[in-house]
């Protein structure tokens, strides 16, 4: 048997660390704010690939000829052959739209191909934002209900707190690195919601078992022992997922880089939180081991009684 790590005695230190990082994330979110992409803010994105190096200064100049696009941003995308032009404008017309006008403006800048145009009207953008918030809320609620149903309520609250911790820090990282927030970023955050819980559940499942099996009165040492036992699988499962998301981040292409980056952060934070956040919260919530054992024992007794009754019934003695 491995010697249990003494995690719970250090829990204050980890708690301070988590609270600090969460606070920094919140400050970032509320001061710097999200860099909403066109999915949520509305606008137009045109991705253009040149034969050879993209003449980015010429492009900027060519576009600013039209007063409407003076505030458009032009940046390299993935390689120096490709650029992305972003503007807050969107057009309702089906005929000549912004991308057609851009193509026209760019015609003297070299040989190029328009590879992607995304245009989202302001109304759809705000609708998508509303839907996005709603989906986050519903996912958290659904998970809360499921975990309360499968575990004791304190487990549910602790796991959801770990979840909020993970998502907040992931959002903080998104703001810090100026990642554009689009639908795929939202998908990544929702995936973090589902995934970061995996490790927490593995640990909680073990703690639940530990309460039954380990004959120690205090929760702290039970948690220490359980977490130590699950440490290798918590890190290993995260590691396999981390590998694949890393390949996605490195080789999956520029378009889904925001998505894979957000997931990478989420997986790292999720693994940390399942060990260092979820379990201490469980303790602070005043989970009572002896009370839990009594209830379990009672449940067991009732089941045994039922079985006895059934046996008596079946043998015809009742």
């Amino acid at each position: 048997m491995k010697k249990p790590l003494s995690l719970m005695s250090q829990s204050k230190r980890f708690g301070m660390l988590s609270i600090t990082v969460v606070l920094i994330s919140l400050i970032l979110i509320f001061t710097k704010g999200f860099n909403y992409g066109i999915d949520f803010a509305g606008g137009t994105l045109v991705q253009v690939k040149y034969e050879g190096k993209a003449p980015i200064d010429k492009v900027r100049k060519a576009i600013s000829v039209d007063k409407n696009y003076e505030s458009a941003s032009v940046t390299y995308f993935g390689s120096d052959e490709e650029i992305v032009i972003r503007t807050k404008m969107s057009s309702k017309a089906l005929g000549e739209d912004i991308s057609d006008k851009m193509t026209h403006l760019l015609q003297d800048t070299g040989k190029f191909e328009v590879r992607r145009v995304d245009m989202v009207g302001a109304k759809v953008g705000s609708e998508l934002r509303e839907k996005g918030l709603m989906s986050m809320f519903l996912a958290i609620l659904g998970i809360l209900i499921y975990v309360s149903f499968r575990f004791e309520w304190r487990f549910a609250v602790a796991s959801v707190m770990a979840l909020v911790h993970d998502v907040t820090i992931a959002m903080g990282a998104v703001v810090l690195f100026g990642i554009e927030v689009n639908l795929d970023t939202l998908a990544a955050l929702l995936t973090i919601l589902g995934y970061s819980l995996n490790d927490t559940i593995i640990v909680f499942d073990r703690i639940r078992e530990g309460i039954r099996m380990i004959k120690k009165p205090d929760l702290a040492s039970i948690i220490d022992e359980s977490v130590t036992q699950t440490l290798s699988r918590t890190t290993l499962t995260s590691l396999t997922t981390f590998f694949v998301v890393l390949t996605l981040f490195l080789f999956g292409g520029e378009i889904i880089r925001g998505f894979s980056f957000t997931l990478l952060v989420g997986i790292i934070v999720g693994t940390y939180s399942s060990i260092f956040v979820a379990s201490p919260v469980l303790m602070w919530l005043g989970f009572d081991v002896s009370n839990f054992r009594e209830k379990e024992a009672e449940k067991l007794k009732r089941e045994k009684e039922k079985e006895k009754m059934r046996a008596m019934y079946e043998s015809g003695t009742l």
């Binding site: 309702k92 089906l94 991308s99 992607r116 998508l128 998908a187 396999t240 390949t247």
Partner: protein, 527 residues
């Protein structure tokens, strides 16, 4: 060796099922059910269109006004001052008190969904709220049908046109090659193709160049411009007839070999047209398309048969698209773009390349890791993982599901998550072996103990995926879909499948070779 147990048999069936049904998708064969590639992978145009339903109301009102005029003329009821008010009411005045009963009965019988109110000899005809709602709904349905017809007639491969939500239209057109082609398709969709034959107000036509729009309106007229010369015409606002009575439109050539569009009217249209031309000899009649005058010839004699020609210095391509638009009917209300996403074919190909690369590399990394860390136990997990991949493809093929770029990301993620179950199980088994349990006991207890944790973990991920599917749009739905299928399939392959393989191989295992079977180094001190 022990005979095959039901778990292995189930897994083998799943594997065969997976391989057989994913073959059509992998080889891209003509027959069999296949995964469709999303527009972000194969290139194409995705649009969410809104509809200006108030215009549908206005045009319904206009056609009510046209009917009133036709009915009264036909029954020789004398009326005056017939006009549209606020785009949703028709007002008129009867000149003869004796006609009131006859007129009210006639309107009640012939024009549905309206309420007639009377004030002296002045009348107002207005649509009921139900009729207005029906008109709006009808406009959307009609727009969906019309756009679908147009795209089909254009000869595009498998366009999707569907109503989305209450008042939006989803249009998806795969396989567009260039931006110019895309613009042409957008213009074809947007074309109202609202054809009207309108009489020129000859009494006031001389003053048209100085007349204001408001003054024209006060006479029940409207000023429209010629499509090429921009010359102004003063026309009676209520048309003689409109495109709803058109039965066919074809491209033809006039005597100068210029492309023209010949169209035919149905019986009712031909009769109205014949009656009108008989009465209006010597006057001009304008052919108006989308509020532009294409021609305004002088009527020389009564024109029967209902054949009319539109000429307007068309290019052949333009005439072709216009004929399609006319044939497939007018849009009752104009549509506008709320969201547009268009991906060129080369970017789609690049995205397929990049995401396949990530999938292959991620897969190899995970397989190597499992092999090095768990030896045979890792091999078993890897077999399950391969089975999982085939199952995902097979299930998606059977449902004809769409694979998007985020969907590919979902599959990559599943590769990482599916082996999680095996890691949990293998760690449990190792732990039990360390405690000195026999191999069969360790395996059975390992599966028993690990199951609830794996189930709970998968269910929570599924909850997030389902919410994402319900609230996500477009490509993101593809991510939620592949992830959900992947998680469900992994329950079969990673739990049931590997369990079966262990049971099958169990007689061959012995505690002397724990390193070979479970990757346990002897110095780790197994009892």
């Amino acid at each position: 060796m022990k005979t095959l147990n039901f778990r292995v048999i189930l897994f083998i069936f799943a594997l065969i099922f997976g391989v057989v049904f994913s073959i059509p998708s992998l080889t891209q064969s003509e027959s069999g059910k296949k995964i469709t590639l999303g527009l972000d992978l194969q290139g194409g145009l995705h649009m969410l269109l809104g509809i200006k339903s108030d215009v549908a109301i206005e045009s319904r009102t206009k056609s009510i006004a046209a009917s009133v005029k036709y009915l009264f003329d036909d029954e020789e009821i004398i009326f005056d001052d017939l006009r549209m008010v606020d785009g949703e009411k028709v007002t008129f005045e009867l000149l003869d008190q004796d006609d009131v009963a006859k007129a009210t009965a006639l309107l009640k019988k012939e024009i549905d969904g309206t309420v007639l109110t009377q004030n002296g000899l002045k009348f107002t005809l207005q649509m009921t709220p139900e009729e207005m709602q029906r008109t709006e709904q009808n406009a959307i349905k009609q727009a969906v049908d019309t756009i679908r017809n147009r795209l089909n007639e254009f000869g595009l491969a498998e366009p999707t046109v569907a109503k989305q939500g209450e008042d939006k239209i989803l249009v998806e057109v795969p396989g567009i090659k260039t931006q110019a082609d895309e613009q042409r398709i957008r213009e074809l969709i947007a074309r109202a193709a609202h054809l009207q034959l309108m009489a020129v107000d000859e009494d006031r036509a001389a003053r048209v160049s100085t007349m204001s729009a408001a003054e024209a309106k006060s006479y029940g007229d409207v000023i429209l411009e010629d499509v090429n010369t921009r010359e102004k015409y003063l026309l009676h606002q209520i048309p003689v007839l409109d495109g709803s009575m058109l039965t066919d439109a074809k491209v033809g050539f006039d005597k100068n070999n210029q492309p023209v569009i010949n169209f035919s009217l149905n019986g009712q249209g031909a009769k109205i047209f014949g009656d009108f031309t008989a009465k209006a000899v010597g006057k001009r009649m304008a052919v108006v398309l989308d509020n532009k005058v294409y021609s305004a010839p002088v009527i020389r004699e009564r024109i029967g048969g209902g054949h009319v020609q539109i000429s307007g210095n068309f290019k052949l391509e333009e005439a072709h698209d216009l004929a399609i638009a006319l044939r497939s009917g007018a849009l009752l209300a104009p549509v506008f773009v709320m969201e547009k996403r268009s991906v060129g074919p080369s970017l789609g190909a690049d995205s397929i390349k990049a995401s396949s690369m990530a999938l292959a590399l991620g897969f190899i990394l995970v397989i190597l890791f499992m092999l090095l860390y768990y030896s045979m136990a890792g091999v078993i997990a890897n077999v399950a993982l391969i089975g999982n991949l085939f199952l995902i493809l097979a299930i998606m093929s059977l449902f004809g599901a769409t694979l998007t770029l985020p969907g590919m990301a979902g599959i990559v993620l599943t590769v990482g998550m599916a082996v999680d179950a095996n890691v949990i199980i293998n760690e449990r088994i190792r732990e039990l072996l360390h405690e000195g349990k026999s191999i069969p006991k360790a395996i059975e207890d390992g599966y028993d103990n690990a199951f609830t944790a794996i189930l709970d973990a998968n269910v929570t991920t599924l909850i997030a995926a389902v919410v994402l599917y319900a609230y996500g749009t477009g490509a993101i739905k593809g991510f939620a879909l592949t992830m959900s299928i992947g998680i469900l399939a992994s329950m079969l392959t990673a739990i049931v499948g590997t369990h079966g393989i262990y049971q099958w191989l169990m007689p061959k295992m012995n505690r002397k070779r724990l390193n070979f079977w479970f990757g346990i180094k002897s110095e780790e001190g197994v009892k």
